[in-house]
Subunit: 267 residues, 2 copies
């Protein structure tokens, strides 16, 4: 059992809901790393006895910071078609909703396929040194990151950088075979784009994240515990919110997931 497996472990209850716990190993500055919360949402669907197929899309909305401790996951299949299924999920604490989510799952079949957004041409992960342990927030040390471009600014001097692009090789630390839950968390490993763009550490927090899973379980198993190439960039910053669009490929250039989020920022 890796720290990730422990973090996404959920216990079924007689009423059909599931009990989970926030994980100190994935703590962020306030509350848990949003990626691990999203992974817990997906896991609640993957565990469900009525599940049909595999995740194709997820939207998770962070309504409030989770308090350290237990939460209840309420996953409900609201519409089941022949080969597709629509889910709503809520995470609750003390009877209050802290996360809302929708998940779409489907039995996938082979079709014509093509990765139009091609993996950029970058050095292999073995040629780069992983970022050393940060001792800043716990979750950062749950990932092995090898930075290619666009790290956290070294000086918070407010100088505006040319763009908000970050590229890195990333995988779970300790390494762990990829599945839809861990891919979900990996979609949220990018620090706030506004920090990158402005070299100013303004308060920022993800409000909503959407993931489209291009990879089925077979492709994830083939990918195994190899590093993924992640790339993230903002499109617009305005009125207290910016967006981020990101892609994750395996090292063979297969696009595993595309993901988007909208993030609050102050000032």
């Amino acid at each position: 059992m890796t720290p990730f497996d422990n973090a996404v472990a959920l216990q079924p209850r007689p009423d059909g809901t599931q009990t989970g716990h926030t994980s100190p190993a994935y703590a962020n500055m306030v509350g848990p790393f949003g990626g691990i919360t999203a992974a817990q949402v997906v896991q609640s669907v993957l565990n469900h006895p009525q599940l049909l197929g595999e995740p194709v899309s997820l939207t998770v909305n962070y309504c409030a910071a989770l308090a350290d401790g237990a939460f209840t996951a309420v996953a409900r299949p609201v519409r089941t078609n022949r080969s597709t299924q629509h889910w709503t999920v809520e995470l609750q604490q003390q009877g209050e909703v802290v996360v809302t989510a929708t998940v779409f799952t489907a039995l996938r079949r082979e079709t014509w396929r093509h990765d139009e957004h091609r993996m950029p041409d970058v050095p292999e992960p073995e040629t780069l040194t992983p970022i050393p342990p940060q001792n800043r927030v716990a979750w950062l040390d749950r990932y092995e990151m090898r930075l290619l471009q666009g790290g956290i600014p070294q000086k918070w001097d407010g100088s505006e950088l040319a763009d908000s692009v970050t590229r890195l090789w990333v995988r779970d630390q300790p390494p762990r075979a990829l599945d839809h839950a861990s891919l979900t968390a990996l979609c949220d490993v990018f620090f706030p784009r506004v920090w990158r763009r402005r070299a100013t550490p303004v308060p920022a927090g993800t409000v909503s994240m959407t993931i489209y899973y291009h990879a089925d379980g077979a492709l994830l198993r083939e990918t195994g515990d190899e590093p993924l190439l992640g790339q993230a960039q903002a499109q617009g910053f305005r009125g207290g919110y910016f967006d981020q669009t990101a892609q994750l490929w395996n090292r063979h250039g297969e696009l595993l997931a595309t993901t988007h989020q909208v993030v609050y920022y102050k000032e």
Copy 2:
């Protein structure tokens, strides 16, 4: 009252839900144009007496084709914070869920701002002729479209095209001052990317769409009824689903919305 205003008109009911109707003016091949359904979802929140702020993000999931006729919109504010609010919305017909959605609204405030994804340099709309009425499906004729790049293939000969990019100027027909509901519908005007990429009219339908609204009401009012520049492109096609990422700018280059969807396709 334009056809759009008629289509998004919802009547409040004593139990707090709202009644709407599908609109023949926005009919698609099977059921209504997905954009008008998304606009009805947003309108149900905009109408709600407990609304705080303006839309910042929306995810709408199409669980089943809406049948022609009435539907019930159930909009529920699940979490209200000091300046933000999280909503769940369902559209129901005959007691069955046909659409699920989540909406995030907020009181926005002035901050540093920047459009990192810049509007491409394209000819002004006045230099282009609108696409003549199609008489294909009703909703297409509710939009004035001036194509810049990447129209529906003229020959369905299965030749693979270089990319799936479409660029066009677009506005409501008849012209109508922009608001968050009409901007929502405009986010869904792009035909399926798989048709563009493969020159093959395979069956395709949107499963889930997410919109991040960068524009507040003031910017939408400034934009008025001027054409918007829309750009759409797929990132990956695999296992029966592809994604689309799109941007909408006003003619002054202000990024009004970024939007993403995942789409089923056959073969």
